[in-house]
Symmetry: C2
Subunit: 237 residues, 2 copies
DNA sequence: CTCGAACTGTACTGTACGTTACAGTACATA
DNA sequence: TATGTACTGTAACGTACAGTACAGTTCGAG
């Protein structure tokens, strides 16, 4: 009894490695991957509460005890999984940043296409859904997601607009607000709809149509009228 | 034992009234209200799984048996609560629709202010959060929310824009897309941020600033430039 | 006031879950 | 090949929960 009661204090291995960390052997490494993959599938489709450790082990192999050795407890596995998924989703997003080729029209269209395709996939939707549902459980991960995801994306577009404003004939008073407005127009209701309704994927031609419309609306509203008589008729089709 | 085993078949009262219905007496009416109120508070703050019947009864008074008499089971109470909250949130929204006074600027600003304040309150956020988290449990309610809420709002704005396009000097090729873009700009990241992050309320002056910015951006992009002799800038017929 | 139905309180049942303990096994290392 | 240890499988524990049964109480109708 006494020996049992110390088990919590002895939760660190002799050489200082925390038990709630990465695996200690090469076998554990494989099991850790399997558990994280199973977690990414189960937690995200069934939610935290409805996913049982038995489910996870049945999917990943191994045993429940291993979960405790590798992740401390159920919440630890969930948290580790979310950190990873978070990173993966953010990588999708960062792909969309920063190429500044050709005209503003072209640059914005290209960014927006990349961005929209990046956030409308199933994984992103699922991760954000869990983030919303369990944000109370993992406020720090939610915060990091927001800062590294949406906030950074807006800042990236704002930087681009700022650079453009200097010599690009655009009237941009508040780059952050403009960037936010542009991104909002591009996304529209699609993302929220995907969170609330079981979504069939958005057809790619609708994505393109929406992006071109948003860019046109954005530019024609923001383009300085003093750009000489001819006016930049953003010609297409 | 034999008598007990028939209890499931006897789940309907002798006179044919299903147990999962509205209360049969005046006392039950009060208890039903109390239970729905408790549910609106607890389910929405703690989620479906983490809210226990004991919690609900402790908050609402009465007894667990009453829940089964009035709502059938836990999910029935949840569903009834969501239907009501849904309706309340949608009422907020419908307040924002359809006044068409003065200039387009003024009309859009007024609508947007009303709309944004309507969706940025705590109740709306909480209800949508639950809708996202439990959309699998109540797909029909989620669908109804979407159709009666966002979809109807967009349609309302689109109708307004359509009416304006006829004689208002605005170039509106696709009223639905324009309405969607406008609303998206107005909302921006605010709502999604409120879902993911524990939100402090948005200060009212920020709401106003955002709305005015969105309206200006929207109109300057959509206003037909007929003053400048000819208006060839409009790309397509 | 009486009566019966509607509601309440409580105790109980069965079950499912997270967590732990432990004995057995497979594996990396030397 | 020998050895210690990192992982596995299983069983068990305690708890917490939804749902049920039932006797007691309240309240409105006649």
């Amino acid at each position: 009894m006494v020996k049992g009661s110390v088990s919590r204090e002895a939760w660190v291995t002799p050489d200082g490695e925390a038990a709630t960390g990465r695996p200690v052997g090469p076998r554990g490494e494989a099991r850790r991957r399997a558990l994280l993959d199973a977690a990414a599938r189960l937690f995200v489709t069934k939610g935290f509460e409805k996913t049982t450790l038995r489910d996870l082990v049945e999917t990943a192999g191994g045993s429940r005890a291993t979960i405790y050795e590798l992740f401390g407890d159920k919440a630890g596995l969930f948290r580790a999984m979310m950190e990873e998924s978070n990173r993966r989703v953010l990588d999708h997003l960062s792909d969309a940043r920063s190429p500044l080729p050709a005209s503003p029209d072209e640059a914005l269209v290209r960014f927006a296409l990349h961005f929209l395709r990046g956030i409308l996939n199933d994984e992103t939707r699922a991760v954000v859904r869990v983030l919303v549902a369990e944000s109370g459980r993992i406020p720090d991960i939610a915060e990091e997601f927001w800062q590294s995801g949406p906030a950074t994306t807006v800042r990236g577009v704002a930087d681009y607009l700022r650079a453009l404003a200097d010599g690009g004939g655009l009237r941009i008073e508040d780059p952050e607000a403009s960037a936010q407005a542009f991104i909002s127009m591009v996304v529209g209701e699609l993302f929220m709809k995907g969170l609330i309704l079981p979504g069939r994927p958005v057809p790619d031609d609708e994505i393109e149509r929406r992006v071109r419309y948003a860019v046109r609306l954005f530019l024609d509203g923001i383009r300085a009228p003093e750009a000489a008589g001819g006016g930049p008729a953003s010609g297409r089709s």
